[in-house]
Symmetry: C2
């Protein structure tokens, strides 16, 4: 049996009771490690589960899936995913591969950032399509995701922006030379996302377009949702460029029309005072 | 301290380890019982938690919130919610009230139907705004939610339709007479939702409008997501009018543009054969 088990978002203890029982009885336990991270170290998880974890990075999941599924017709394999197994990313490939090999599978759901952002008080009913903001480089500055923000705003809807993270990426040079040397992990902060958004707004103005948001649009920055060190701050897009929300992971919401109850909830999360 | 704890969607064991530890130490434990239900009985939960549960229906939550929050400055109160505490419904009111009373609060997230529907293989990135389908009566047949389906389809997006449930509702007569006599709980099935949708399509055609979906639009019916008895079936809207997915709770997805990987995933969930 293949079990895809969501770990939730914050701490080791965010696994469900059902999930923990399965992990404890599985013969091999993989930890998917390239689409997100928990706020805790792998060692802490191993200690909590009482089981060794096999790290499954992008290469393992995409190119060595047979390895993960080996003998799963006879033994139990767990594949642990931060959030929900079908949340911010998808592991359809692994499921389809298992089904083709005649291996039964089961999903153990958990909290995903897509619904946990409701903790800031914005109603999940009022969110439109999710957007992803990727790291810009000097030569590659895609603006295409901004169309989603625009469509959502036109319909009065909030936009959850998932921010880029690069875990075990290789530099172009190392990739070309086939060297397995990995860059240090990078996580986009709310500041970086807001700065890129502002640049798009300015570019659109320069092109004579009417941008869907301005420096004054109300946004919500969220960091480490679900963990003890969670931080939330509501303020203008301009303020988001400099607010300090600490370590990863960060998410950013661009609001649409705000209901009075939502406004009242956002007041619970003022911008931190400057020191 | 007030703890809002998500229970997830399926079984008693879907509570997180963190959530269970908190429930075990709280002085009073409320079970919110009017916006959703778990697949298990209250007694099963009480047995599993080793704690008595106080049922909190709509009246208790909306009119007797002081009762729930009583002494929460000195003792620990847990408020259990099916799914995520800020998922398909919102408990902002309770949080705002607690904050005004100077009571600290904490959220323990869990799986919500909003992200768990990813288990059918449709990518959560490709969903637009959520829609809610309410029970029609002989005289009240609202079609307004259909605009959301239309907007989502125009943008190529899937629509998750949350289906009405009426728990501890009073008949108009009993309401007027002030009698606390409650109707048996009602849960909208995928069949009922599909039939109402088809009626809207026909109404729109009769008015000379071009409906955003037809009898042949691919939909996904989901029942008891996350539980051992989960059922998923993909097929046309017409097929959804008669498919048998068993007991509550049901959800219905109206697809937008389908990615080849999504099509392949949906093939894992064929319509059940007629007997």
């Amino acid at each position: 049996m293949l079990y895809l088990i969501g770990l939730g978002l914050g701490d080791a203890e965010d696994i469900t009771v059902k999930g923990l029982e399965i992990v404890k009885k599985c013969n091999r336990v993989y930890l998917e490690s390239y689409t997100s991270i928990l706020a805790v170290e792998k060692e802490r998880l191993e200690q909590f589960y009482g089981r060794p974890l096999i790290t499954a990075d992008r290469q393992v999941v995409e190119q060595e899936a047979e390895q993960i599924l080996k003998d799963a017709n006879d033994i139990d394999i767990a594949f642990l995913v931060v959030g929900d197994p079908f949340g911010a990313t998808t592991h359809s490939d692994l499921v389809l591969r298992a089904v083709k090999m005649g291996i039964p599978y089961r999903i153990v759901h958990n909290a995903s950032i897509l619904s946990a952002v409701g903790c800031c008080g914005l109603q999940l009913y009022n969110f439109g399509e999710v957007a992803s903001i990727v790291f810009w480089t000097r030569t590659w500055k895609p603006e295409s995701f901004f169309d989603r923000v625009k469509t959502n705003r036109q319909n009065g809807l909030h936009t959850l922006c998932l921010l880029d993270l690069q875990i075990r990426e290789r530099s172009l040079e190392n990739l070309i030379k086939g060297r397995k040397i990995y860059e240090p992990p990078r996580f986009m902060t709310v500041n970086q996302a807001a700065q890129q958004l502002l640049e798009i707004v300015q570019n659109q103005r320069a092109r004579g377009e009417e941008p869907a948001i301005t420096e004054e649009t109300i946004c919500v920055g969220l960091a480490r949702v679900g963990s003890e060190e969670q931080k939330i701050a509501a303020g203008t897009l301009k303020q988001m460029c400099t607010v300090d929300l600490g370590g990863p992971l960060h998410s950013l919401i661009i609001t649409g029309n705000l209901h009075p109850l939502e406004v009242e909830m956002l007041k619970l999360f003022p911008m931190p005072e400057d020191d």
